[in-house]
Symmetry: C2
Subunit: 410 residues, 2 copies
């Protein structure tokens, strides 16, 4: 089904926020088998919103809008969509009750403006908003569909997962099944080369590779008459891919590396501590983002200064002098010291030059050492990113720490 | 001048990349006084590109395109723009020489496809590409303008700064000046209420408020005949706003809170350490994201377990038993202990219940205590976010820590 995504919000036209909603929806819609043909963005202006919905429906069968449903502007998008789709707004008690309940739950007063949010098109299929006050809805006319969702990403993604996705799935005749394989330690072009014949020969399942901040992924999708048929086709292709590049794949189900590592640590009851220099707490922050990790993660030490490395971890002054703070020796002493103070099963350390400054003779920006102590194992991995971006070097170090745990412990 | 931004690239429609070009161009164009009315995205399909350029020119005087100029697709965008603007492609020797030079510089062979990139519309003002091989250009017809730039962000931004911006400045009569004020500790609706009369009465300068993850901001913009006139008008309005809500404003120049805090700490040579529980290293990670912070930030302790709080920071077992890990007493003992072990000028601690689980009798998810030791000062701030989102609670705690340092130290 030909689809357009319409983002509504003057702040987008000012470049004040990045349009992550459109990226999210494009990925999801493509996965569900919808052909995303256009992205449009327009400001909070009723006439232009209406003109844009009309325009989008000329070429597409489905238009998905985000934004323009806030309490101070709610008649805007809804009224305009009604005009285009030949409907009118009515007060829906169920929606009003849901909005009132949302404000009760959050202990905030409900205003008259919020009451207006309970008006929805009379023929609409309504999607309740569990994360905010503005409901979403879908409206059909002559085989053309408009789906409207609120703009705040948290509200939109929650509503999409819970209500809009099942609605869209029910509209499609074919069933799409897909799996997303995620890889670390191989570049997108190498991955593509290793799978080239499969990619060239693809009809169904289809294969596509993506790159994202040091990782890459392969999407395997099949569109069949039944879910079972599609699932079998996808699983067969996944097995073929795993045979070729399985050593790089850390998830076949679109899990992030940090999720995979934490899930496995929790399942095996292995405790974890970290000692970070160049990543400055990014590892601890990523791991503690996972709910329930407090059962496993014990302590994280961000030893940015040499004093901190010596005092907190017992790294020897001699080692720092002879080999430098960024060295295999220091990384290992950090991990060993961490083992002594924390007693955790898995102790990981990192030291490196994140950049943009800090390079010295023989030690370029992007040089990073990762230490790991687990049982009798004491390991160190050396990385040279060859890049001078601080953000990239820190991110790549974080992923390498997780990868090292995943390979050597789990 | 009414302006549309047209992004060309099928990968955008798949959601494979985030459209940062459009954010960048929207900011720059607004600053230059161009009214960005629409964003459009279309795939690498000649017919749809042509239709979209035509459509955009109906409503706008200027259309800026990015993408669709690569060596394998170069005739696509250029040919289509020629059709719309009534021109034809010709080989330009100067451009060909520039492309050849680019390949010589990079030690890569130049292909026949790259030679095709030297074709540009005969009437075009050409913008050479110093970062890649595809040139950009501007084409005018009957007072309507199309500017085409390559898609890779590095090539596009370089070309924009160097060539397109001066071109656009020379075309514009008015000058826009704006400032972005950023606030913490006040909600968007309260902020709006306090500025309501100014917002309602706005003609020039214009005011707009925005909300973003616990913070909000006010954009003040003026469009005048001269830059000086616009700047004075903006500064006067900023002064009026500061009088009313200055206590919440931490930056008048669109800096992030972490940047403001780190910049001030570095300027004053104050050292910093952190002890984190619920934020799990997010504070240390945010601070160490700032280049040069190693001169100031000394150590970060992520004391997730009670043992870590006692062993690393000397929090008393008695305190943990009597008041609990999430309490004013524990937060203060964490900060005091951190002062003892690190000796840093500024010692900040945090302990709280990030959720979604972990609530106990009288201690709901979202309850957070922040401790601060600075000189003789020992302070504690209690927060109740009222929210059960782990991500939000951690993010809000991070901002509160920064805000507490900014208010009480800097």
């Amino acid at each position: 089904m030909k689809t357009a995504i319409l983002s509504i919000g003057t702040e987008l036209l000012f470049g004040q926020i990045t349009n992550t909603n459109t990226v999210y929806l494009s990925q999801k819609l493509n996965m569900l088998g919808y052909d995303v043909m256009y992205h449009y963005t327009v400001g909070d202006n009723p006439e232009r919103v209406r003109a844009m919905v009309e325009l989008a429906l000329e070429d597409c069968d489905l238009v998905i809008t985000t934004g323009g449903l806030g309490p101070t502007q709610d008649d805007l998008t809804k009224e305009m969509v009604c005009q285009v789709m030949g409907d009118r707004l009515v007060l829906m008690d169920e929606v009003l009750e849901e909005i009132a309940e949302y404000f009760r739950r959050n202990g905030r007063p409900m205003t008259e403006n919020n009451r207006k949010q309970a008006y929805v098109p009379s023929r609409a299929k309504v999607f309740l908003n569990e994360e905010g006050s503005a409901p979403g809805f879908a409206l059909e006319k002559d085989g053309k569909y408009v789906v409207c969702m609120p703009g705040p990403p948290r509200e939109m993604t929650h509503m999409f997962e819970k209500s809009v996705m099942p609605y869209l799935q029910s509209m499609s005749e074919d069933v799409i099944c897909y799996r997303m394989l995620r890889a670390f330690g191989i570049g997108e072009s190498s991955l593509e080369t290793k799978l080239m014949d499969l990619i060239d020969a693809q009809t169904d399942p289809t294969l596509a590779t993506y790159a994202k901040e040091g990782e890459c992924s392969v999407r395997v999708a099949s569109k069949r008459k039944s879910a079972e048929e599609a699932r079998v086709a996808v699983d067969e292709m996944v097995a073929r891919i795993m045979k070729r590049v399985g050593e790089y794949i850390y998830s076949c189900d679109d899990e992030e590396l940090v999720q995979v590592v934490c899930r496995k640590l929790m399942a095996r009851g292995l405790t974890l501590s970290s000692a970070e220099s160049c990543t400055g707490g990014k590892f601890a922050a990523a791991v503690t983002d996972i709910p329930g990790i407090s059962a496993v993660f014990q302590r994280g030490l961000v030893t940015y200064s040499n004093e901190a490395k010596m005092e907190e971890l017992g790294v020897r002054e001699e080692t720092l002098k002879k080999y430098g703070a960024v060295s295999e020796e220091t990384a290992l002493e950090m991990a060993e010291g961490l083992k002594r103070v924390s007693g955790s099963d898995v102790c990981v350390s990192v030291t490196g030059i994140a950049g943009p400054g800090g390079a010295t003779d023989g030690k370029p920006v992007g040089l990073v050492y990762i230490g790991l102590v687990y049982g009798d194992k004491k390991l160190c991995r050396k990385i040279q990113t060859g890049d001078d971006s601080r953000h990239w070097n820190r991110q790549y170090s974080l992923l390498s720490m997780l990868d090292m745990i995943n390979r050597n412990v789990l």
